[in-house]
Amino acid sequence: MEKDLISKKELLELTGISYGQLYRWKRKNLIPEEWFIKRSTFTGQETFFPKERILDRIEKIKNMKGELSLDDLANILSPNLTEITLESEKLVKRNIVSKTTLDFYTQKKGETEKYVFEKMLHLYILDKMFESGKINFEEGGIILNLLEDQYPKFKGKGGELLFLRKLGISSCCLVSSFCDIHFEESMKIIEKMNLSDLIEELKIKIA
């Protein structure tokens, strides 16, 4: 899905980091394996990265590495779910999820006292979708079911959530990162959400 790639050499020039740093961050899982894209060029094999994401990631690592150890950073940046749980009031109080979304969730799935990270993530995604005004409650239900049924298969891999609409009929799907996907013209992609980015955001918010 990402078209803009940057070569390793350009990346190091642009960001001022060294090969050693890049390899260390890779070892510490600060940069996901799947971002290292091998392509053959006339000088042999070269490694490329998805440009925007890697630049953003390196900026983040540079900013945060003063305060946090590399291992802590890896924890925040990895798409693995953490084991933190939070009570429902806290979620609202800390502005992680709006009251409306929480009510919607309780209505669908019943009262929950403590939310594990995975459920928080579902709420967080829903909340973002509702906030953007692109979906209604009924469609929220579809997304919630999709996340609950299919998201576990994505664990540790990130992926993207696509929300689609064709002639007024809506649907959604989960796709793994870096796969190309093409739709016919009348299919509109209403919203595209990168799950690893959201996990990262949410981890920073609840930390």
Binding site: S18, Y19, G20, Y23, K26, R27, G44, Q45
Partner: protein, 222 residues
């Protein structure tokens, strides 16, 4: 050490299922079918593990094969190790020969002997002392040192017959010192290309030193 975890000991010849253990000690010949998760793994002799290995410390004296990944804080291998998955270790030392079908990750990695790594060898401190033909697909890290050990034989004939001792596609790091290495590309900050090297392209940021017995196709300062 957690309570309730037992030890697995094999003296002689036996096989066992995998599982969670405190210490796993094999003296003789053992086979483990399944994943192994333990605090300490010690093998004297021979052991084939059909699964992944996760341990705090691994000591192998003899021959060992692992069908899956090896994950450990400390690993010492004297002898032979054949690993079909990936290796990720904090501190690793191998004396003898090691072959890895996947990638190798370590903070400190010291190899004396020979090795064959099909994937990427990624280490903070990498010290390779070669006693024979070795290869890796890629090497990356902070400090990379490759030295040739072993006697050169009669008038250096052995070296001439065997040719280059380390063959690798690319080497990328901050500080690099190489001997007897054949590589397509070497990139880094400070690079020293020692005797017996044959490198097609060197790209360096700060400094490049070349031994008179080394061949470099082209070099570029970046």
């Amino acid at each position: 050490m957690k309570k309730g975890m037992t030890d697995l000991k094999i003296n002689g010849r036996a096989s066992s299922a995998g599982g969670k253990y405190n210490a796993v000690i094999i003296n003789g010949e053992g086979r483990i079918d399944g994943d192994l998760d333990c605090i300490k793994l010690k093998i004297n002799g021979r052991c084939d593990i059909n699964g992944n290995v996760k341990a705090d410390s691994v000591d192998i004296y003899g021959t060992n094969s692992i069908k899956g990944n090896l994950e450990a804080e400390k690993a010492k291998i004297y002898g032979n190790a054949d690993i079909e998955g990936n290796v990720s270790v904090d501190k690793a030392e191998t004396y003898g020969s090691i072959s890895v079908d996947g990638d190798c990750n370590a903070e400190v990695f010291k190899i004396e002997g020979t090795f064959a790594i099909e994937g990427l060898l990624n280490a903070g401190e990498l010290e390779l002392s070669l006693y024979g033909a070795s290869k890796a697909c890629e090497i990356g890290g902070e400090n990379i040192t490759v030295k040739r050990k072993g006697k050169s034989g009669f008038l250096g004939l052995k070296g001439m017959i065997q040719g280059k001792e380390l063959t690798v596609e690319t080497i990328e790091g901050d500080e690099i010192y190489l001997e007897n290495t054949q590589a397509k590309v070497v990139r880094g900050n400070n690079i020293k290309i020692g005797p017996g090297c044959e490198i097609e392209l060197v790209e360096y940021k700060n400094s490049l030193k070349q031994d008179e017995k080394a061949e470099i196709g082209t070099n570029k300062k970046i």
